[in-house]
């Protein structure tokens, strides 16, 4: 009932093969690093899409939860904890703080939720910059250890010193995230999220508790954002308040919107393509944000469904053009 046509599966398989082979034809270490970061941003962006795109709640604290994960892993691994223990803990802390923020603020609607979450993001950013004993203040935390090696019986161990290993680590977590989100979204569980976005009073009237449902989406999204932040801190080796700032949130938001809101592939495309486009546009310097700001306005006015949504519309038009009768029938019955 939720299956996709065959040619989509083939497309995804090809993309997966391309992703697995990517380390063999990536031109240089700098680009490689950007690709790895894109994957981590894609994890955060997909989870932001869960709360904003699918559940329809404008959470503007996603950067903050990414930051909580990053600082969490940084502080815990520097204190000697294994990365593999610190990462789930940091994600849980992120989800837990998310619940603490969500419980009061998800009772509010629309504007209010967006503003409360934005304010929380700013508070966290200020705290990260000033709580020097814990966060290192504006300089942040340096020398965060890489993920510790995973021993494999009889074969040695997997270490994460090489970029290639880090790449596969990021890819694994991205695939895991997409797998989980796909399962959650394309089921009756995910339908309840979309019911919140689409018609909350009706969902309430058919026995779905709006508050619990929204809180669940928010907590899941923040768990994943914290996880992405944790991996980010460990691979980069440093974290500063900018990783937790509202600018981070805005970046994720740009990826979500330009890629295509409420589509899983859109988030990945947005998070992957835009940082690379940004790099290619490096020569423009400060003009880049000028272009992106204007682009964001234009897209939201003329193509509110983003890149993937645009493609879908195009596809529908092609289908309609091929089978003119069927669509006419639908129009007549209206």
């Amino acid at each position: 009932m939720f299956t996709k046509p065959f040619h989509y599966n083939l497309l995804y398989l090809l993309l997966l093969v391309a992703a697995l082979l990517l380390p063999f034809y990536v031109p240089d270490a700098y680009i490689f690093q950007i690709v790895i970061m894109s994957f981590l941003f894609a994890i955060a962006t997909s989870s932001m899409n869960l709360i904003i795109g699918f559940a329809g709640q404008a959470s503007l604290a996603h950067g903050a939860f990414f930051g909580i994960g990053a600082y969490g892993v940084a502080i815990m691994t520097k204190a000697g904890l294994s990365f593999w223990l610190a990462l789930p803990l940091a994600a849980l802390i992120s989800a837990g703080i998310g619940a603490v923020i969500g419980i009061p603020s998800l009772r509010t609607r629309g504007h209010y939720f967006a503003i409360v979450t934005l304010c929380f993001g700013v508070i966290l950013w200020i705290v990260a910059g000033n709580w020097i004993q814990l966060t290192g203040g504006h300089n942040g935390i340096f020398g965060i250890p890489l993920p510790s090696s995973i021993p494999i019986p009889f074969l040695g161990e997997i270490d994460f010193y090489s970029q290639t290993a880090q790449y596969y680590l990021a890819l694994t977590f991205l695939l895991l995230t997409l797998f989980v989100l796909h399962r959650l979204i394309y089921s009756m569980f995910g339908l309840t999220f979309m019911a919140m976005r689409n018609n909350e009073p009706l969902a309430d009237a058919v026995g779905i508790d709006p508050f619990t449902t929204k809180l669940m989406a928010f907590v899941i999204a923040n768990f994943i954002a914290g996880m992405a932040g944790g991996i980010y801190a460990s691979i980069i080796g440093a974290v500063s308040p900018s990783a937790a700032s509202h600018l981070m949130t805005f970046n994720f938001l740009i990826y979500v919107i330009l890629g295509g809101i409420a589509t899983l592939s859109g988030s990945v495309i947005g998070a992957f393509a835009i940082p690379i486009i940004m790099e290619l546009l490096q020569f423009l310097g400060d003009y880049r944000m000028l272009i992106f700001g204007a682009l964001l306005v234009v897209v939201i006015i003329y193509f509110p469904q983003g890149f993937v949504g645009g493609l879908r519309q195009l596809n529908q038009k092609v289908v309609a053009w091929r089978q003119p009768k069927q669509t006419e029938g639908a129009n007549v019955s209206r």
Partner: protein
């Protein structure tokens, strides 16, 4: 089966509903009628927890439901539709019905994540029930349609379907034929009769007197937020208070 007792609601000092009492019996169709602004929809909203009463209580099988939020009322087997057709219009027809059935399942986070046998069972059960409902509504061939591709009558049918898919004990319909022409109204009326025949109790708000007189077993008449009459269609037709109330407003009787 369903008891509304001394229900009163004030909005900023305006009395919208005052001391309304009536019961709904198992298996009947009870209609609530009255001129515009008589407080019919407010009574519905009070019965389903959308708004909380200033005083008075609502009971379902001797269990008090007033004061509960709408979703807690719904899981007690009380389903409703809204005056303006309310659907999940960004989703497909089948998805609308699946959401309507959701609370009957135990599909939660872990079940869904792990695709447990329970998840599969519930997902199949919901799907079967949704298809059955589509059949019942006469929309079986439109499961995959998006809502804007449906006609107005089909949308109204679907709205009833979303309420009925979870097999409620009682169905509250708020003007289910508003804005429809006679022919379409007749078809919806037959649908409501079939729902009653299946054993679901129905409470309906309507303006169309002719339709109500033929459909309802009993009628409660509201005017200015008060109950002015209650009885069978024949009793209501000859009730002096009702005739007076309607002569001032609409002249459908």
């Amino acid at each position: 089966m369903f008891l509304v007792k001394s229900l009163t609601k004030h909005f900023d000092g305006i009395i919208a509903v005052q001391d309304v009492t009536f019961t709904i019996n198992q298996g009947e169709i009870l209609a609530i009628i009255g001129p515009n602004g008589a407080g019919k929809s407010t009574v519905f909203n009070l019965m389903t927890g959308t708004i909380t009463p200033t005083s008075g209580m609502v009971f379902m099988e001797k269990v008090r439901i007033s004061g509960l939020p709408p979703n807690k009322v719904a899981v007690k087997g009380i389903a409703r539709t809204f005056q303006t057709t309310s659907l999940f219009d960004q989703l497909r027809v089948i998805d609308n019905l699946l959401i309507g059935y959701k609370y009957r399942t135990r599909i939660g986070f872990w079940n869904t994540l792990l695709h447990t046998p329970a998840w599969k069972r519930y997902q199949t059960e919901a799907f079967m029930r949704a298809m059955e409902m589509l059949e019942f509504l006469g929309l079986a061939d439109k499961a995959e349609y998006f809502i804007p591709a449906l006609s107005q009558e089909e949308q109204k049918r679907l709205a009833i379907g979303i309420a009925m898919v979870s097999k409620p004990r009682i169905l509250l319909l708020d003007e289910p034929t508003g804005g429809l022409i006679q022919e379409e109204t007749d078809r919806i009326t037959r649908l409501i009769e079939r729902i009653r025949d299946q054993g679901t109790t129905v409470c309906i708000i309507e303006h169309k007197m002719q339709m109500i007189m033929g459909l309802a077993d009993r009628i409660v008449v509201l005017n200015y937020g008060k109950k002015i009459a209650e009885g069978t269609p024949d009793e209501i037709k000859s009730n002096q208070a009702v005739i007076e109330a309607y002569l001032g407003g609409e002249v459908h009787v």
